[in-house]
Subunit: 247 residues, 2 copies
């Protein structure tokens, strides 16, 4: 298999309702595009959700880390490339590059996925799937950003509390992965976004939350410009954790 | 000018994070696509925001009414067509058709736009713009849904109160038109969406709101399955009104 087929390339434009007050694409929308690209890339190679669902399997996003020199500006075209870096028995690492309108790489992302059996909710053996053919797509394209890190939050005073509403819920009945990103970024005052931009953003998805769940957000200022966030439901069950690094 | 160039046709797919728990495209995402199509169509014909901004003018959405027999399902392709129905001195009517994967028209939308001068914030004379050439694009394509109606809300007890956050704000510093749609649809319990779907959705945009504004939502159940919503800032200033008809 040649390298070309291993890397998926997808074009986008920064739409007006997808940019923030600075005119830059929002992290939530970029995350959405990345996850869509993951879906397109997997589907085109026979490992998409639709195919998997027939066999009662689905992909579950475990980690996402995005690091960027700049974000596309309103109306600018940009390109996302994605490829599989590693396949283990229970996880696969999928990486991304974000390329601006001039063909310059402006950022990268790393993601970690598991596959679960929809009946048992138990993880599936990726190396057993389709006779292990997923490893044929492994690609050594460079992704020069750090792997998702361990995130620890110590704050006991919630920064915000919200109730999961209709617009938060996806087809699986869960609060969707992108909404968490938006809710987390809404914790920070707009003044911060006026003088700084997000250099690195990480998510660790731990457990699902559902319609009507009360989500509490705990936030540590771990370093100057670095915030660690934990989202809990029912007061103490961890739903996800995030690291936001401004510059 | 032939009829073909008067109608713009744009293809989409219902992405996984753009569908609700029923697997149907959300009204907010459809609204976003419609407004993007309006932008593409206008830009391609020399009346886009980018061109206008150079002359210190911009389009302002005043009304939007969407009526649908069904919503595209997750991963389904669909098409949006848009054209200009009327041009008056201060307003223009732009209509839309939504076409499903099989080429069947599944819904229509109507929108009303004004143009303002960015310096004075005063409305511009559309018939004077580019020597009145915008009227060359007027098209008599049918749009068999009712025009946006007058919406009156009497409730004095707010159904919800939110504060406008970072993710709500667009490049103009205003709460973006699509976010209002999402916040309004979040007023209704998920049980309603389990047994009913939105047949018709209307928005009347009255005034802008800004970061940090406290938005209060007032809701009348005007008829069975019909809700009228008013969004106010600072307690009593109307920001927008909406009509939501379920079936």
């Amino acid at each position: 298999m040649n390298g070309e087929n291993k890397i998926g390339t997808y074009k986008f434009v920064a739409e007006p309702f997808h940019v923030d007050f600075n005119g830059r694409l929002t992290m939530g929308v970029l995350g959405n595009h990345l996850l869509n690209c993951a879906g397109f890339h997997a589907s085109d190679r026979g490992f998409g959700i639709a195919t998997l669902n027939e066999d009662n399997y689905t992909w579950v996003l475990s980690r996402l880390a995005i690091e960027l020199d700049e974000m596309p500006y309103q109306y600018e075209e940009f390109t996302v490339q994605t490829w599989v870096e590693n396949v283990y028995r229970l996880f696969t690492d999928r990486n991304f590059a974000v390329i601006n309108k001039d063909g310059k790489k402006i950022g990268y992302a790393r993601s970690v996925w598991a596959m679960i059996n929809l009946n048992t909710r138990k993880p599936a053996d990726l190396l057993a799937l389709h006779g292990g053919s997923i490893v044929d797509y492994v690609c050594d394209e460079p992704c020069p950003i750090e792997k998702p890190s361990r995130i620890k939050v110590t704050s006991t005073e919630p920064s915000a509390t919200i109730m999961a509403k209709y617009s938060d819920i996806d087809i699986n009945g869960h609060v969707n992965s992108i909404r968490y990103i938006e809710h987390i970024l809404d914790l920070f005052p707009i003044e911060l976004y006026k003088t700084k931009r997000i250099r690195r953003f990480e998510m660790a998805y731990v457990a699902e939350s559902y319609y009507g769940d009360t989500l509490t957000f705990f936030c540590d200022e771990a370093n100057e410009n670095e915030f660690h966030v934990e989202v809990r439901k029912h007061g103490n069950e961890v739903v996800c954790r995030s690291k936001v690094v401004f510059e």
